[in-house]
């Protein structure tokens, strides 16, 4: 099994940390991972993206041009990455701020209202965890228990009291995944 994934959005939306938690979760399942961010000026206020690869085998290129899954959090990223999803692959997006919705007919498309649900939960910061939960439902590659273990491993201990909040955000995402087009 190899999952080649890109997460793309604005800097500050938690794109890089979502990828990091996902990578940690895969490590908890004894899988190989790579996490390759876009780095440089774009991180400071522009678009941010990260390529995460999860595999049972040794990972070759950490840099890709086609993905099994794209998680898209803003319009610029939709414009840039919709066409990079492999035929039969998966596109998951947060409709907040999206004007041109995806039009591909040969991929699975899911929606998750991450920012809206996070606001309802009273904490805009958990939006990325809601989206991660939705991804776990759409693409069952990492298990919830391993994501929690991954969170414990990646967060400094002083933040461990936030783990229950993150867990409920993950569950919220799993429960609120909307199917737009499933092949």
């Amino acid at each position: 099994m190899t999952e080649e994934l890109i997460i793309a959005g604005f800097g500050g939306q938690g794109v890089l940390s979502m990828g990091k938690i996902l990578a940690y979760s895969a490590i908890m399942q004894d899988q190989e991972v790579s996490w390759m961010p876009s780095y440089g000026p774009e991180m400071r206020g522009g678009t941010a993206n990260v390529t995460v690869i999860i595999s049972d085998d040794r990972i070759s290129s950490p840099i890709l041009t086609k993905y099994d899954t794209a998680i898209i959090l803003n319009q610029q990223s939709m414009d840039k990455f919709e066409n990079t999803v492999k035929p039969g692959g998966t596109l998951l997006y947060d409709p907040n701020g999206i004007l041109a919705h995806p039009t591909r007919k040969d991929i699975n498309i899911y929606r998750i209202a991450g920012s809206k649900l996070a606001t309802e939960m009273g904490n805009a910061k958990v939006s990325n965890m809601i989206i991660l939960g939705a991804y776990m439902k759409a693409r069952p590659i990492v298990q919830l228990e391993n994501v929690i273990l991954g969170l414990k491993k990646s967060l400094p201990e002083r933040y461990h009291h936030l783990i229950p909040l993150n867990e409920s955000a993950l569950t919220k995402g799993m429960d609120n995944l909307e199917e737009v087009q499933v092949l």
Binding site: K20, A23, Y24, I27, E32, V33, S34, W35, M36, P37, Y39, G40, I59, S60, S61, P62, I63, L64, T65, K66, K153, S154
Partner: protein, 361 residues
């Protein structure tokens, strides 16, 4: 239980330095390797092992601090990225001339000049053909994963002390910035002066003893005949490195008709290209250089006798390809492919180049 973490290449190399029993790190921040000094400052290894971490006033100061610490028989390291490494060249030449151990890490970015902060492999010539003045060589390790960023630090110090020669770890912005799963080695103790002397000889300038003359560390000898003899000694060391310390990896080369030669992140990208090529029915293998000096001329020459062609893939306009061509002595076709100036080639582009330049070309 194994100590497994998810780490950036730059953080991993910093942690590996602490665990290798490094005595001192001197550096100056520059993208894309600033996490090395950031990590060391955060981690405060002075509390863990007594290792000194200092941000110097410049790259030139940092390499000369390494020179000084190495002269005292200490395990010293510095790191930078391309423009900063250019500044260090004088110091590296002096360290090589004075026969001192040191580890220098270059997380390469696009050039020339200040260039860009994006990944590149255009410092191959600088790294393997001198860089500084004079007839010297560095032993050069090229990691292709975050795990190798860890493993090569201890290897680098071992070689540096064994041969009393600077060792470079030639990485790039991809390996430095990406995170992968790493298994960290246990902490090695820092060595005392006495242990250094027992293992590597009594050459450090740590004070004159009654039973010997004072040790002198210098790269200067105005007598050309003595300087020539010194150069002979250096060349003999480089020959021994060639004989004993060559490292490379051959992936699926046994049945291959075509070979991609690459190192570092280009080797990783090329591996994906190899998989795509094999899906199309082409028998492709990867020859991955682990040491850039010494260069694996002999195994490449042997391969050249039985394959149809080589594609040298590197993020430069074509530097390593020159050594590949020298190695294979015209026995097979060899072409270069690579994006450069901070642009990274994709696996698909490598495959296309392989088809157009080598298989159909």
């Amino acid at each position: 239980m194994a100590d497994i973490k998810l780490m950036k290449g730059n953080e991993a190399i910093a942690e590996a330095a602490i665990r290798a029993g490094c005595d001192a790190y001197f550096g100056y921040p520059i993208t894309p390797q600033s996490e090395v000094i950031e990590y060391l400052m955060m981690e405060r290894p002075e509390d863990r092992t007594g290792m000194v971490v200092l941000q110097a006033e410049s790259e030139i100061a940092a390499i000369n601090m390494v020179y000084g610490a190495a002269g005292a028989g200490k395990k010293a390291m510095t790191s930078s990225s391309s423009p900063g490494i250019s500044l260090k060249q004088e110091g590296i030449s002096y360290i090589a001339g004075s026969e001192l151990p040191a580890v220098i890490v270059n997380v390469v970015r696009g050039g020339p000049g200040l260039g860009t902060i994006q990944p590149s492999q255009a410092d191959y010539f600088q790294t393997t053909k001198g860089g500084g003045h004079g007839d010297y060589r560095m032993y050069v390790l090229a990691p292709a994963s975050v795990q190798e960023m860890v493993d090569f630090v201890d290897d680098a110090f071992e070689i540096a002390f064994k041969y009393r020669n600077p060792v470079m770890i030639l990485s790039d912005g991809i390996i430095g910035q990406m995170m992968e799963k790493v298994e960290l080695p246990p902490q090695k103790p820092r060595l005392s002066d006495k242990e250094i002397e027992e293992r590597y000889g009594d050459w450090a300038t740590i004070g004159k003893r009654k039973n010997r003359e004072r040790n002198i560390i210098t790269s200067l000898d105005l007598d050309p005949y003595k300087q020539e003899a010194h150069n002979h000694k250096l060349q003999e060391k480089y020959r021994l490195m060639q004989e004993n310390e060559l490292r490379y990896e051959m992936i699926d080369c046994d049945d291959a008709d075509y070979i991609i030669v690459a190192y570092g992140s280009s080797a990783r990208i090329s591996q994906k290209a190899m998989n795509l090529a094999r899906e199309k029915g082409y028998k492709v293998g990867i020859f991955r250089l682990i040491t850039l000096f010494p260069f694996p001329s002999k195994p490449l020459n042997e391969l050249a006798g039985r394959v149809k062609g080589f594609l040298a893939v590197e993020m430069s306009s074509g530097q390593m390809i020159e050594d590949v061509k020298l190695a294979i002595e015209g026995k097979a076709k060899a072409e270069h492919f690579g994006r450069y100036g901070g642009v990274v080639h994709s696996p698909e582009e490598v495959l296309e180049a392989l088809e157009n330049q080598i298989i159909k070309g």
